[in-house]
Amino acid sequence: MLKIEAVLQPSKLDAVKDALLEAGIEGMTILEARGHGRQKGHTEFYRGREYTVDLLPKVKIEMVVHDELKDKAIDAINSAARTGRIGDGKIFISRIDEAIRIRNDERGENAL
């Protein structure tokens, strides 16, 4: 089992979610995040003082999938989230050793 973590522009969340569903990935968990990368932040003002906000709002989607769904998932995310501009986000993949469905204690790939 693989864990796919994708950091995205918040405005792309809906599109990515739909693309994933279409690719057959139903289970996912979404976290609000702030990100720092090549994308420059923006300037805000407080009574004449300027300050830079370099942490930008992002969402992070985490999903644990069968190994063979990996490419489908990456493609779905890529195609739905890509604008070609800095800040589009990243995907990270790592290995998960065990999955358990709390409802009925199913384990392993059946639990996804």
């Binding site: 003002f45 407080y46 004449g48 003082r49 906000v53």
Partner: protein, 465 residues
Amino acid sequence: MSFRTLMMLFLFVLPAHFAFAVAPAISNPSAPATQAQIAALQRAVQNAQTAGDNAWMLTSAALVLLMTGPGLALFYGGLVRRKNILGTMMQSFAMMGLVTVLWAIVGYSLAFGHGNIFIGGFEHLFLRGVSLDPNPDYAATIPEQTYMIYQLMFAIITPALITGAFAERMKFSSMALFLSLWSLFVYCPMAHMVWGFGGLLNATSGHIPSLDFAGGTVVHITSGVSALVCALYLGKRLGYPHTAMPPHSLVLSFIGACLLWVGWFGFNAGSALSAGPLATSAFVNTHFATATAAIGWTIFEWLHNGKPTALGAISGAVAGLVAITPASGFVQPMSALFIGLAAGFFCSFMVFQVKSRFGYDDSLDAFGVHGAGGTLGALLTGVFASCVINPIYGAGVPTGAIEGHWSQVLNQLAAVGISWGISVVGTLVLLFVVDKVMGLRVAPEHEMAGLDLSQHGEEGYDFNT
């Protein structure tokens, strides 16, 4: 005020006159009946006058309380970080409780008792003698208790304004003690000098007749200058100015600013102490100056930073409200437009440039807005006051510099100087005393954790349950 007072005097004089004039008419059988009717009518018309004026003054008193809570509490509360929201609002709320009790016991007496030119004395201790009849020294058509409660609302908001300077770092207990003392030792004398009968700076009965319709010196200079002293004495917040400390909710500040605007109609137009044309004049001037000040600050900021912020617009509005306060019942509407614009530019300049140059941490700009705006307003009142609006020195007697009465500006300068002086000295002494007794600042770890948790054991928001 004066117009109404005159009219009432007229009414009071009438019966005397009549007693004299009517004497020879005894032979006319209808005269006594007519005279009884007229006497009844005179009483009835006084009651009706009181109803109208009192309706407005009670409304105004409610509006001025609305300015402190929730108005100012939200305006300030929105500007602090999330962890200090309750602590900040509680500072205003504590004044609503503490100053009220002090005022009932001794404050009103100190401010509005007869006393000497500096202070009112103890004649009204526990409100002795403050009845439901009018006190013609202050307002001839409303119960004195109306006057007392209306003035109390001013005494509440003034120390609350100071809290913007030491936001996010003062102990609740020390804050409560310090501002209670401040209310007695700075506010009451100043109120007496400017508004108290026989006070040094009183426009009609004082040695240095200065004009302050609704509190440019008494409220805004005292609070604003004391705020500066507090900011210097307490020192900066941990991390200031390197760490950004953005407002946690400009939405709350926006609501607060709007309520300040609305409530300020009670503050300024209520200071006419009646519901006649003078109240209208103060109302109009208040609104006009606020509008131009919001625009002025916005323009300054737009040029300065390239963007007009919401915080700028509402801060400008407050600056305009402050600056027009002393002038509101003295100037023409077009002067009000100008005073507001000047305040918008001047206060934004003070906040943007002067504060950063000197580097003190007047956290929410209580000095930059109230101290600076109040001073500007007090001086401009001397320039623009017009006897057409308020013949305070008599009908047609030149009032402000614009009418040739240049020395009024000097009187205003004197009032400004005295209010700066009493604020600096009084605040320093009181801070020193409270500091010795119990300390002023919260412990650094409490400052990190925030006032809400460390002082009150609560959090402003809990969105997780």
